[in-house]
């Protein structure tokens, strides 16, 4: 039997692997899987706990991907925190608010080098590299690291993380922590790695937190209410250099005259100094109740919103709304889903976009790092057309806009245009609540 085991193993292991094609296939599958995950933004809430969260996160991820293509320069190439972090952390790296560590410890031929750290009241991140003279073939494919963190001598807990060994050796990786309010501006931090791939040793690193202490809090924000009885309450607004966070509670009287797939959303818009309205690249929304608009006429929604601050603004507009998508319900392997109707038009001036002619393309302008499209429109929610090239699997989303009378200038990351480039808009109707719109100024 051992002979059979040996021969079957040899038979399988001897199959040549087309490494490059396989790498491409796996990466392409991961992209497709994430893209299909985009459809989950239309999923019913009995399957996914937070439709609003998925909707915005999906857009955030795609925005991040398209934006990174235009912004990652020398700093981005060198910094692990830039490569791994959200857009707020990337900005901290670019602006020089991260701390160089350069701490090194070696045990049993395994050298850990802590490279950079960043701490604010929302998150802490520490990047590191692993070096060893051992042949990569002799190492496990996944490196398991157990570690503990101490703040001013007090233990904060233990963690275990898995890293792809090849990737870790080539590019390094990071540890991340949250709930960092107890860390002082200059706390003594000790990160202790207690085990790596079964090697029980101590790789101990002590460093000053050098915390970014900007921490702005807004309490007692007046509740918004309209004549129909709709209400919007914001609580616990907290802002650090990387993150804006708040809780929102919303009661809405739902207009049921339009049929379709109805869901509740919250739009967060940063207000720039020169009237530029910034659409944050990464907004995640955790809904504690079902954001699917169901059968009740009055719906209540309760959400935790986190915005990664890629632009350093201190004023935001928060807009609750209900979107009704037209499309088809589909059965999926793990439940029910909804695929919204897409409306695409050629990427050129003069085109009318949307099944309800929501946008007319007045002008398209290509600048060094951006593509600016001027639309004639009267939409109340700034959900602008995206620019897509499905052949190349490229999706580009608006990053900011500026109102100019009945025109709006919308900025996208620089788009490379060919005959397959299109505008894309989902067939949707919006129920808006102008009197519930809330502005917050944190400075």
């Amino acid at each position: 039997m051992e002979k059979l085991r040996h021969e079957i193993s040899r038979m399988v292991d001897d199959i040549p692997v087309p490494d490059i094609k396989l790498d491409e296939t796996v990466q392409s599958a991961l992209i497709k899987a994430r893209k299909q995950g985009k459809q989950t933004m239309f999923r019913k809430q009995n399957i996914i706990a937070s439709l609003a969260s998925v909707f915005v996160v999906a857009f955030g991820i795609m925005l991040l991907q398209s934006f990174q293509e235009t912004t990652s320069g020398d700093i981005g190439n060198k910094s692990i925190l830039y490569q791994r972090g959200d857009v707020g952390l990337q900005r901290m790296v670019t602006e020089g608010h991260t701390q160089e560590l350069g701490l090194e410890e070696e045990n049993e031929g395994l050298t850990i080098i802590l490279e950079e750290s960043y701490v604010d009241n929302h998150q802490m991140a520490v990047s590191f590299r692993l070096e060893t003279e051992a042949a990569i073939e002799s190492l496990p494919k996944l490196t398991q690291i157990a570690y503990e963190l101490f703040v001013d001598g007090k233990p904060q807990g233990e963690g275990i993380s898995l890293f792809d060994t090849k990737e870790l050796l080539a590019n390094g990786d990071w540890f991340t922590f949250e709930h960092t309010k107890e860390i002082e501006a200059h706390s003594e931090l000790m990160l202790q790695i207690t085990e790596m791939n079964g090697v029980q040793e101590e790789w101990s690193f002590i460093f000053d937190s050098e915390k970014q202490t900007e921490y702005l809090v807004l309490k007692d924000i007046p509740s918004k209410k309209d004549d129909l009885g709709n209400t919007f309450d914001m609580k616990n607004v907290e802002m650090t250099p990387t993150t804006l966070k708040f809780i929102a509670s919303t009661d809405l009287l739902v207009d049921k005259s339009i049929s379709g797939n109805k869901t509740f959303h919250i739009k967060v818009i940063g207000i720039g100094d020169d009237g530029e309205m910034i659409l944050p690249e990464s907004v995640s929304i955790s809904s504690y109740v079902d954001p699917k608009v169901d059968y009740n006429r009055i719906e209540r929604f309760y959400d935790l919103i986190k915005v990664s601050r890629d632009v350093n603004v201190y004023s935001y507009k928060i807009i609750p709304y209900i979107v009704t998508l037209q499309g088809v319900e589909v059965k999926e392997e793990h439940g029910e889903g909804f695929i919204a109707n897409e409306h695409t038009t050629p990427f050129k001036e003069g085109e009318i976009i949307g099944s309800n002619s929501e946008f007319k393309v007045e002008n398209i302008k290509h600048e060094k790092d951006a593509t600016i499209v001027t639309y004639e429109t009267n939409v109340l929610i700034p959900n602008f057309p995206s620019i897509v090239n499905k052949e190349k699997d490229e999706y580009t989303y608006a990053v900011s806009f500026k109102n100019n009378g009945d025109k709006v200038e919308v900025t996208y990351p620089k788009v490379s245009v060919n005959s397959k480039t299109k505008f894309l808009l989902y067939e949707a109707g919006y129920q808006v609540f102008p009197e519930l719109e809330t502005r917050i100024d944190l400075k």
Partner: protein, 177 residues
């Protein structure tokens, strides 16, 4: 409240990618043993990853990732074979020749050739038992069949394999747990 991060979608995605990359060669090789075609094996790997990504949140114990994604790969391979007329023809053809003593007598195959001509389900059992080294109860769990069925299928597969290889001089033992 712990300073250590709780699970998040982003971390799940990183973990998923890390785990997939660590398994990708094995996944490709197993797919290839079923379909004997590079591009088709790559397609099966791709389909497996997409299915696994969608269901990753359901995987409660990450240490079972390899077993779990192997199960998805095997099911995807078997689904592909069911859809593929060519492969079904090969399978049926072998079954005809496999029951023909005359054909058996003139065959002298090495293991790879014999394996290639096994039924997909028989390949699955051999791979799980002798390549992955899973026990009978583990195989039963992976393919969703009772242990007794797995044991008898393994026994029968080994008999078929032994018959195929007799002329080549290789004789393998009985199924064991």
């Amino acid at each position: 409240m712990s300073i250590f991060k709780s699970d998040s979608k982003r971390i799940d995605e990183q973990t998923f990618e890390t785990l997939v990359v660590s398994e990708q060669k094995k996944l490709y090789r197993i797919a290839y043993t079923y379909v004997k075609n590079e591009q088709t094996a790559l397609d099966i790997v791709q389909e497996t990853i997409i299915k696994a990504y969608k269901a990753f949140h359901k995987l409660k114990d990450i240490s079972l990732f390899s077993t779990w994604i192997t199960r998805i790969l095997i099911n995807t391979s078997l689904d592909y074979i069911k859809r593929s007329i060519d492969v079904i023809q090969l399978d049926v053809e072998w079954y005809r020749t496999g029951n023909n003593e005359e054909n058996n007598a003139i065959m002298s195959m090495d293991l790879a050739s014999a394996f290639e001509n096994l039924r997909p389900n028989q390949k699955t059992i051999l791979l799980l038992r002798f390549y992955y080294g899973y026990s009978i109860p583990e195989i039963a769990e992976i393919i969703g069949k009772p242990e007794g069925t797995v044991k008898s299928q393994l026994h029968r597969t080994l008999q078929v394999l032994r018959k195929k290889l007799t002329n080549g001089g290789d004789v393998y033992g009985e199924a064991s747990t």
